[in-house]
Amino acid sequence: MTGTSQMQVSDKVAITIDGMNKWYGSFHVLRDINLTVYEGERIVICGPSGSGKSTLIRCINALEEHQQGSITVDGTLLSSDLKNIDKIRSEVGMCFQHFNLFPHLTILENCTLAPIWVRKTPKKEAEERAMHFLEKVKIPDQANKFPGQLSGGQQQRVAIARSLCMMPRIMLFDEPTSALDPEMIKEVLDTMIELAEEGMTMLCVTHEMGFARQVANRVIFMDAGQIVEQNEPEAFFNNPQSERTQLFLSQILGH
Amino acid sequence: AGTLDDVKARGKLNCGVTTGLVGFAAPNANGEWEGFDVAVCRAVAAATLGDSTAVEFVPTTGKTRFTALASGEIDMLARNTTWTFSRDVDLKFEFTGVNYYDGQGFMVPKDLGVSSAKELDGATVCIQTGTTTELNLADFFRSNNISYEPVPIETNAEAQQQYLAGACDVYTTDASGLAATRATFDDPAGHVLLPEIISKEPLGPLVRHGDNEWGDVVRWTLNALITAEELGVTSANLAEMSAGTNNPEINRLLGTEGTLGEMLGLSADWAKNAIAAGGNYGEVFAKNIGEDTPIGLARGLNAQWTEGGLLYSPPFR
């Protein structure tokens, strides 16, 4: 299984993070992060709470500023130039822990909003594409409902569809399943696995180790703002190198 | 440009009046302004524009009147405003004459048994605020060394209600206003005006300092009304007289002789128009506040100098 997924990884670089440092005030959250993500790669990021996982992926689509080092997404250097930021954001889709759907818009409107206003897609085309992705996440029949009328799992799938409608080349997931009931987690993970199989570049913060084993090319373990260890899933889980990782895995798998 | 040109260009005169004092300036049931002050506005409009209805009446309160005039919102203020030194000099206005010689008086219920204001020691006094009333009152009681308790009220209607309900013993404002107010009572005979008039209140129209042409227009329009009465020109015989008389002063006034109108920058028949608007001073007085009206004021000080009053217009020559 790991074999098949690795085959889709190309040599083209999707994201390069180079010597990145970030501070919140005087608190050093991210320390000297170096990371290269190739197109089609699926990366799972894990680590204890507060270790900076969310901050890292939020830096990638400029929801947070970084203070040192550079981030290059798809050849575009992330700088304070708004043009670049806009460009990167439309290449990178993001999916939040709490979905953050727009409650005043229907599912369909949620999905077509950004294509229409950012990509200037004609409405009809945007809607067709939205329906396509809603079918992909298996909720085309909910298109005209409001987010408040859906279950958590359905909402998270809408959030994924919403990002996909922007046709991003890279998807970021920040603990997409941790706000869900166990039975809904499965729905969402299935959707993500399907995406993974299509070769989407994915960075995913999650503690679902089953998911990591099944789809990831690489697992990154962070602690105290640093990347402590990264490896292929098999090696990572069966044979963690650092002590910190071993401790963390023992806790997580012990549950 | 001067105010006169502005008024002519606008085709309307903006005239500041009080917000409502029956007999002097108040809208009637049809919403038309009428009253003694209003007549002055109309006369000026007739003189400058030839149309006595070309007036925009701007109601002003005691507080807003000076700003309205100073800022140019109104061209002239014909509101019961007392001509005082500080208003003329310090506030930089120009009083163009006196259209009503008033004085502050007191009204008390008859059954109070008071016959002189000097007996009012310790009384509660309702004051209609707005002009110099408070100051005169304070001066009067101070100089007579007696005490009182002031109740300042904004509008005449409310002051009157207080007075009638017995919330104050005395009501003080200009004597003309007292008479007007008493006229509307259920039982006017139950109230008396005390003999003391404690202040001089020469009320007259005023304009901004520094625009002497416009000041002249207003001043001489008022004088035209007064002179007309003196010379016996009335709205009834106006047409006849303006055909020409053998009194040169009348002829000068009505524009059939001389170039007075031109000097003012107005048409020759300016005074004729002003008089036609509401009659001469005497007619205006009789129609709005005279003895046959509910207000029932006698001419008193406001009689012509020939009749023993103070009205004395400089000659038209």
């Binding site: 889709g93 993001m94 759907l101 922007m166 | 409502g20 507080k63 800022s71 919102e73 509910p294």
Partner: protein, 432 residues
């Protein structure tokens, strides 16, 4: 384990016990009275006190109302008719009806104009107040200000059309250039509108209003309850956009803009409206160029608008704060820029939350429009305190007039506050 404990425990019901009606003392009028009026001794005393109070109020007002006289022409006539009985002289209302509603100067033959404007107002405001109505009606709402302006003030129809045209052109320019950059669109739109207005004002012939379809009525001639309504509606609708801008400004992370907004809001909220009205009536004139006389109505509108904008800004700020941060982030991560995020995501939600608060501000503001009577404008209260009570005929009828004013305001304000409560309930259940 042992029989002693297990046996008594095991139990299976043989069948269902049918529900039976509650005991008699649980229903009926007596129970209601006992529970609601006389549940305890202090409660009983309270009830009696309340009953006496109600009786006293009714005893004093009912005869006065019932004996009311409706058809005389002055207070003295009315007193004669009453002949010493207790009774109201409602005839002042019938006789001065038009003055109370329209002020003393609005031409009588044109009363239909404000009336029509009021009716249209109801139509225009309906889609704003009731979300279920077709959204298409909002087009009429957008047109309404121009129609109403023309109806009430009259004059040449060119003026409102020109104003509308300016807005339309500005909007179109904004649409075109706003796609690229918001700032370009925004300033371009404003510039375009200004150009249109300037060009148009050159084109409208001097004196066009003299022989217009609807003769012009100067704003000084407005009065009565109509003036209250107009001030209320105009100022609330004008202060809404200003309030939104202030609220956004106060939330902004640009310190200068934030401080300008904070100072403005706190300043305006710290000063009584009446002082601001003094500013309008005695001070503002000094701040305009000497030859531009801005009429009092406009000055008052400016002041009241500023006043209510500050309050509305605070309400909207509350609405903005209630939105989870995730909404902003989601909008960002989709690549929407600030104006888009505000217009499409944040404001629609924040405004919806704020509507009850805005309605409350609106009611308060509407009540406060009576303060203009203090600066010599003849609104409903101004008409009563000024021309009507000062007139020889009606000098002395306080109760009827004040009661009428109170009733009129009560009906309108109570209506609006009921609406806002309905809305709050509805918003609470909307979409779960």
């Amino acid at each position: 384990m042992s029989d002693k404990t297990t046996n008594p425990i095991a139990f299976v019901a043989e069948g269902t016990i049918p529900p039976s009606p509650p005991p008699a003392n649980e229903t009926g009028v007596v129970k209601w009275l006992r529970e609601n009026l006389f549940s305890s001794i202090p409660n009983g005393i309270l009830t009696l006190v309340a009953l006496t109070l109600i009786y006293m109020i009714l005893q004093n007002t009912v005869p006065w109302l019932v004996n009311g006289v409706w058809t005389t022409n002055s207070l003295n006539e009315c007193r004669e008719v009453l002949d010493g009985k207790v009774g109201a002289c409602f005839s002042v209302l019938t006789e001065r009806w038009h003055q109370l509603l329209y002020g003393f100067k609005y031409p009588a033959e044109f009363y239909w104009r404000p009336n029509l404007a009021l009716v249209l107002l109801l139509v225009a405001i309906a889609p704003v107040l009731f979300f279920d109505l077709p959204r298409k009606m909002l087009i009429f709402t957008a047109l309404y200000p121009f129609i109403a302006f023309w109806l009430i003030w009259g004059g040449t129809i060119m003026a409102p059309i020109l104003a509308l045209l300016g807005f339309i052109v500005g909007g179109v320019v904004f649409q075109i250039y706003g796609r690229g950059s918001f700032a370009a669109g925004f300033f371009g739109g404003i510039a375009a509108a200004l150009i249109i207005w300037w060009l148009g004002s050159l084109l409208i012939p001097e004196g066009a209003s003299d022989n217009a379809m609807l003769p012009a009525v100067p704003s000084r001639d407005l009065g009565g309850f109509m003036l209250n309504l107009m001030l209320g509606v105009t100022c609330v609708s004008l202060s809404l956009p200003l309030g939104i801008a202030l609220a956004l400004g106060r939330q902004s992370d640009m310190p200068l803009i934030k401080w300008i907004c904070v100072v403005f809001i706190e300043f305006v909220r710290g000063v009584p409206l009446i002082t601001l009205l003094f500013v309008a009536s005695v001070m503002l004139a000094y701040f305009f160029p000497p030859d531009a006389t801005v009429d009092l109505f406009l000055r008052v509108v400016i002041m009241i608008t500023m006043f209510s904008a500050a309050y509305i800004a605070e309400v909207i700020r509350g609405g903005l704060a209630a939105l989870p941060k995730g909404q902003y982030e989601a909008a960002d991560s989709l690549g929407l820029d600030y104006p888009q995020a505000m217009r499409l995501i944040i404001l629609p939600q924040a405004l919806k939350i704020s509507i009850p608060g805005i309605v409350n501000v609106a009611v308060g503001l509407f009540k406060d429009t009576t303060l203009v009577s203090v600066i010599s404008m003849f609104d409903l209260v101004g008409m009563i305190r000024g021309p009507i009570l000062a007139s020889t005929e009606w000098n002395g009828v306080y109760w009827e007039l004040l009661g009428f004013a109170a009733a009129l305001f009560f009906v309108v304000c109570y209506g609006i506050s009921q609406y806002s409560q309905w809305l709050e309930r509805r918003l609470a259940t909307d979409h779960r």
